[in-house]
Symmetry: C2
């Protein structure tokens, strides 16, 4: 493969994670070290930064600040949820991207995101190939939802899972502290896939966690739920329930969006999250003290509880994307091949075609979910446990996190 | 002072904190080592454990498990919110307590709680004195609200403050990640005193935190709030607001309980916390994307972000209570005398009469709050900063917290 010299653009897209900046760091460090890459540019707010010609010169950053990126949550370059049009129908965005790529001599494009972003990545890759502008395009996976196909897991998931499991252990202690009973409902992200909500079961596995865990992979039955909460409450004076935001009835309606009904006690469809509404339904039905807790953004930006394994793998994903692109590959996403045989965890990067990832969604295998539809089985625990191991040596200042402070110097063409 | 030999009872009361078990540990360790104390008993669910004759023999616990108590959130013995009657009007509870104290030869009573608990402690102390049963009674302070008078600060507050400041730093990063704007409202505990909500300003002080911080010490003005959010949003494309759950209008109505009004856009008074409702009001008024986040129980049980300073002081408070009681004192609460002169923080324990603490409430000095009523001044930062320093070496197992596992063996008389 011929040597390709030129600038690279790194961009971050979709919902941020605790370790997406670790991938940025891994890619930037490898790119800054690669003789083939003449300049490392960071796009402001994902592909919008390319379209708007807002690119930062990463080479002008203080290396000591770049080293703090892995410990800095959220997407330091900014993110977007912009969806490119089908180039067959409207190729204006693509022409603009090509124009900017030519302006800065961009020959490498690294897009760090979830399945929508891999679709964007794939479209850009194909357009560049058609246009004759040689540009190698690589996807770097990222999503707390862990729903990308073709990879054992996604960077960002394990840190959110560690945050969720740790917080659920703590809440489990607090929610059962009084002699007067209480029912506590914790709402966890994951609209279609239950990987994150299932992580709450790890807390239970280690002795202090939710009694019931509901995932979007199965249908939610309000009557069965109420009966289980009632039984638990009568037996132990408390019930602690974890629910995915995406739980739905058998007819497909999201429980969070279900209409007001005398049966489930719901009302006020516009206000309050699922946790609060489910808790209120329990209160209306069973007349007990309730509390709804939504982990909200906290679970995806909780860098102080990041998994070192996750952080290291996120960095590796960024580095491998750059190394393989420089070596001649294009049109791929970095994925992980993992083994847990004999209790030994190994993770090896591989490349999978962007087309195989774009717009697909991986859910929890049904055989990993309990027949009661409110628990997970041992294979899920075995799958997750190695991913959350290790505590990063996060930089602190005055007892608080010391995040990276980038100068973000606008690049000139 | 004569040597007093007998058993001691340690009990935990009120809302739990991240370090209330550190005080339990400090007291238990000192009591187990004191030759005057013949047996260390832990009451199940505060004073209710005494009334119900449910006492655990702490001496039968594995010392290695007791050592994990400081890192275990919530009240390991269980808590209660039971208020003793005025003994002048109804002394049945007091007679029952005396009966149990005699049954187990209890000569020392240590109650770990907030101002309500200090009132309980004070009443028991006086009743025992009147009854002629020699029993030394000491209060050990505890409250995330930091509202006890007569002490520089309360154990439990700083760990919650550290959790809040750290989480606000992380959320601040996440809440500003998109190119499309958003207004984020975080709700923090503290019904009457704003110490915890003000802690969010520490995040801002260190570069990533809320733009506006509203405390219950001042009156909330919805129009002023909306104007400030609008200005921020127009200037920087985002606004991040921290509010105390106890913010109220000038007429005293809590904003969280205010009636539906076309002016503030509120409705559905039964559902959703203040954060969600304020966020919805902003959405209704300004038509922007919003998110409400309630830190809920997470902020008071977040032991993984406990302050080592707080943990050490919580342990010290428990130890000092025992040591001074054994030395002959009774009817006091352990308090802290602190100095921050020349940037050097020192904390010295002292004893203050229970009567001086019971049912009083300490708020943030108004001169520490900005004239804009939505910021704090440097003296508050200087006050708080030393309290949140240090990271405890918390025990981990499988990448998750390893909490204490007590056997809780019922004591026999």
């Amino acid at each position: 493969m011929a040597i390709l010299k030129g600038a690279c653009v790194i961009a971050q897209s979709g919902g941020p994670t605790a370790v997406i900046n670790a991938s940025f760091y891994g890619a930037a460090k490898a790119a800054l070290a690669a003789p083939e890459i003449t300049r490392v540019l960071g796009a402001a707010h994902g592909i919008k930064g390319v379209l708007n010609d807002v690119l930062y010169d990463v080479g002008q950053e203080d290396p000591a600040e770049l080293e703090k990126l892995p410990y800095t949550p959220s997407s330091e370059l900014g993110s977007c949820r912009y969806k490119l049009a089908d180039p067959e129908k409207d190729d204006r965005d693509y022409k603009r991207i090509l124009e900017i790529f030519k302006k800065y001599d961009v020959r490498y494009f690294f897009y760090n995101g979830g399945n929508d972003s891999m679709d964007t990545c794939d479209k850009i890759s194909r357009f560049m190939a058609r246009s004759g502008w040689e540009c190698r395009v690589m996807g770097i996976p990222k999503t707390i939802d862990n729903d990308l196909v073709g990879t054992d897991h996604c960077p960002g998931f394990a840190s959110a899972a560690k945050y969720i499991a740790t917080s659920c252990m703590e809440v489990s202690k607090d929610a059962r502290v009084y002699d007067t009973g209480a029912v506590t409902v914790v709402e966890i992200m994951g609209r279609h896939a239950g990987w994150l909500a299932a992580s709450a079961a790890l807390a239970t596995h280690f002795g202090a966690g939710p009694d019931l865990v509901y995932l979007p992979e199965t249908d939610f039955d309000m009557e069965d739920f109420m009966a289980r909460v009632k039984t638990l409450y009568e037996k132990q004076g408390s019930a602690f329930v974890a629910v995915s935001e995406g739980i739905h009835y058998a007819d497909g309606r999201f429980v969070s969006e279900a209409e007001t009904s005398a049966t489930d006690g719901f009302g006020h469809a516009q206000l309050g999250g699922l946790a609060v509404r489910l808790a209120e339904a329990v209160k209306a039905r069973l007349g007990v003290k309730v509390r709804g807790i939504e982990l909200s953004l906290l679970q995806r930006c909780g860098a102080h509880l990041a998994s070192k394994t996750d952080m290291d793998e996120a960095m590796m994903a960024g580095r491998v994307a750059v190394e393989r692109a420089v070596a001649g590959e294009t049109g791929y996403m970095v994925a992980f091949d993992c083994s847990r045989e004999g209790g030994v965890y190994t993770c090896v990067p591989k490349l999978i075609p962007l087309t195989s990832v774009a717009n697909a969604e991986k859910k929890i295998p049904l055989e990993w979910i309990g027949e009661d539809k409110c628990s997970v089985k041992q294979p899920f625990i075995d799958y997750l446990l190695p991913l959350i191991q290790g505590e990063p040596a996060r930089p602190l200042e005055n007892g608080l996190p010391r995040f990276a402070r980038l100068k973000k110097v606008r690049a000139e063409a």
